[in-house]
Symmetry: C5
Subunit: 272 residues, 5 copies
């Protein structure tokens, strides 16, 4: 984009079009202010999404802690519920990235549960429902009182908020008009900039205008990337690594060996 | 608006009025800062409104989950309450958009309830009251203890906060003076801009001033559109699609077939 | 103010004082940034105040809902408590606007309560205490268990937070120095502006400087108005209309006829 | 500071140093943006601190309300606990301002408690512990059930959050580097400004540069003052008045006569 | 960096490259806006991290308070749990700074617990689990009812949120692209600035450009430092001092003598 601007500019220079820096200065600062606003909006989505996944880890650890405290001897139960919770976070990841959850569900869930989950159009929510059923069964058997059932139900509810919050972020982009208007104005601004600068800067024009364009375009594209924090590009959330951390945490707490390897950054130092 | 500016400008040019860019630069940046503030204010209303509808989905799913956990065999109850919850969200949509809830209520609610709801001036709140009555009846019958009743009551309370929050956003606009002052200054600014630029830019004036005006006017109008997030224009919340999602979710959870079709974007790729 | 500036400017013009636009451009943008900050601060007070009154409506509706659910047959109780709750919101309005609550209290409260409330220096808080006493009496009589008493106590607590929050906003202005510094600089800036512009703009000076001054002064005065959201000017919260809405809601829920008329905007389209 | 700048400038003027407005314009706007950020940071500390003290009032009123509701006849208890709560807020004030709590503790607390509190290095926290002990004793005596004890414990917990939050604000300043960098750049900027302006403005330089310097310096010093909201300067929180309000509220609620006089502003209209 | 710029500039000056201030003014302001955004993002991480550690202190104090209230005579228990809580905060510090927790764990924890903790890959979480186990044992022995167990479990849950929140901040930096783009543009900007200024300022260029560069570079580096608030540089959180405060508080509350010395600032007045 900038390369083209440089080439074209050589030619326009001789056309004698009068463009001065002053109106572009005004416009550039206005665009910078709007870019700042849009980056805030995108970044706060990123932060909220990260916070939700952090809450997921916390709530899942808390459920396991509560089960271990309240029913310390039912080791089988700890393992079964930790399996459900691990499946839930992988399933949420696949739902948000619109990838196929099949392999991970197959790897983690017992067979009779697997069918029930895979046939549901809302897999993550279905797993949460199953965890609730298990807790209700414990209450039915008198292993949990209404009050201790309530304590765990609050954690399940926290997870429900995480699932709902992530779906909300994934389904509701920043109003498209923001993206559209900013992109149009930024690109047009960068295209016209060389013609405004050429009068003052002569041979330095390409260099300076590429520099300015780089600043504006990179901020614009970064805002766009962060807007959907559940993608797989370098600046998105490393959902695989987070799910791996959750899996390691829950397995460690319930004494399951071996723990999966920690997720390693790829050769570009990015986690996915 | 801009077209008129261009035409008029050709004529003023020969009038010899002295307007320079400098004061407009100052004014333009000041307006950009104020536009940034107003967009923040409008956008945060949009985000809050979206968050409230997200919470509605979460709370309604949680109520169904709790009922299924606590009273797993009372399938009729699950369906009846899910019907109320679905009616509640459609009713809230109609209330916020000031449209007639009649058809949707007729479609969803059983007959004896329908009259009671349609005659109330606060339909959504009335439906919530009915849900509470059902829970109280279950408590009266001993099917829910005080504690498990309290767990569900907390969810009903969350829904009450959503209803109240949406009403608040719908009834309290951003103070009108913000809209008024900004609109006046933005329009006047755009009208005067060509006369300030013409001295420097000559034949390029129309082009540059249209560009600058476009940036400012589109940000102003976008802020105004987002300010009322419950409207039906392209950048407002797709309440129909959200209600449809809630209906699909609750029906799936209570095993009702067939699920309604997912809401599809119209031919301009907009959801309503 | 601006009119004076125009008149004086005609005279200074011939005095040969050198003022250029550049330092005023710097100063104007700095002031715009500070005005943006102050408007954020004032507007967030407005939003918080509105949110508190929204919560008041929600919490009062929830208390009535809970009473109707838990004690469905005690219609007298519903009406009595709804009366207290309605009185509470009118009393809070009078407390915040420092007007006399006498008439409204007389209109709503039963006689034996009226004396107790009117003699208290903290009327709103006193009414809340009375509501709590009623709930405690129900608990004493065994009509509410500790747990259901706790559910309602949480709502009373929400109202306590609303009252305390409103008092806090009313008693703690934005630090006065912000108002003072901004007002001084804005007025001085607007006074000096014509002298800076006159060199460039000649006969257009009054027009442009009035325009710029208008933008700055109106933002400054709007920030000041929103700072105290409980006043009675056009951009303040329409507390009368909100109290009226609460009264209509609670009466409708408890089946009291006739509902008061909805509050209508005055002939300037303002609610009070 | 500005006076010195004016004097020196007369002398430099004849030195022929070339400083133009343009780079100072850039720098001034950058500094204004950073000042805006720092004012936001300081102001949000002020707002948070005010909110915490507001919560303190609300929570203490709620504890008294709950005690009056749950144990309506134990008037001695109401007075004793209200004494502790009043002592707690004065003690917190003294802790935050690092003044001696002795006189106020002596005035409010009974003798046997006084020693225990005055010998503790964490007086406020100690008083909270004593309130908790009283509640636990009531529970032990069967006057409070576990559930009603829990309701009051939640309020005690709110107070614990207020104490911890205030200590956090008092002990953690805005990172000192912000203060340092801004102060250095603002002062240097104001010192150099006259030399940049003198070329354009001649005899008007002192006036304009004092004006600009005033704007920047006052914003900088205001940010510094608000940063520590618990001090005693004019723009800090009026902790004495707030404590006085709390004392009046709690005494009125428990029927203690006479109420202390409301705190009056001093002759500069400031509360302390 | 700036020193180099000064030296090089002397040489370029004679090269006749035309760079004017205007485009740099536009670019500088845009960069200042983006720096303001990035500082907000970094600073809000700092504030959140500080808030989490403040909550840790509050929650740990509350657990001790609740134990003292509910089981006033079990002094051994108070000391044991306070030991666990102190160990937990030191362990969290070591986890966040990636230092070896061995010495502090050895100093605080009893031997049989020490092994269990040191062998776990998630030490802090493991200690929390142990505290939960102790509470569960008290419930098993009938010393805590379900309800009072629930009150303490809520505090344990608060600590779980603190641990999870700190891990989230430590593991998720601000998207690296922000750092990268800003650093590139700021450094390039500062390098080019002298060449743009030299035409206007001649011999004053080095001075002014060093000043401007200092402002921009220091803001950029400060944002980077605050981004990871758990480091050990001067502007990071003084975790050692906070842990020391927590230790002193809990020991004072449980009557353990002697209290550790308060942490003193080092000779540069910094806490670590």
């Amino acid at each position: 984009m900038s390369a083209i601007a440089i080439i074209i500019y050589q030619w326009y220079e001789q056309l004698g079009i009068h463009l001065t820096v002053a109106p572009f200065s005004l416009l550039g600062i206005a665009i910078a202010i709007f870019l700042g606003f849009r980056n805030s909006a995108s970044y706060s989505r990123f932060v909220e999404a990260r916070g939700l996944w952090g809450t997921l880890l916390i709530a899942e650890r808390s459920i396991i802690r509560q089960l271990k405290n309240l029913l310390p001897n039912d080791v089988e139960l700890h393992k079964r519920i930790s399996g459900y919770l691990i499946a839930l976070c992988w399933s949420l990841k696949h739902e948000l990235r619109k990838t196929d959850a099949g392999y991970d569900m197959y790897r983690i869930l017992p067979r009779h549960i697997l069918t029930q989950v895979m046939f549901s159009p809302m897999k993550t929510n279905r797993i949460l429902l199953l965890i609730g059923d298990e807790m209700a069964a414990l209450r039915e058997q008198g292993k949990l009182s209404d009050i201790t059932f309530g304590l765990i139900d609050n954690k399940i509810d926290e997870i429900a908020h995480v699932i709902g919050g992530c779906e909300r972020i994934a389904n509701t982009p920043v109003p498209f008009a923001y993206t559209l208007i900013l992109q149009r104005t930024v690109y047009l601004f960068c295209t016209l900039l060389p013609f405004a600068l050429v009068g003052d800067l002569h041979y330095m024009t390409p260099f300076v205008s590429v520099f300015i364009s780089y600043t504006f375009l990179s901020w614009d594209s970064l805002a766009e990337e962060l807007e959907d924090p559940f993608g797989t590009s370098a600046n998105d959330l490393p959902l695989n690594a987070i799910c791996n951390t959750i899996e390691r945490n829950l397995k460690e707490m319930t004494g399951q060996q071996p723990l999966p390897e920690p997720h390693q950054p790829d050769r570009y130092f990015n986690l996915t």
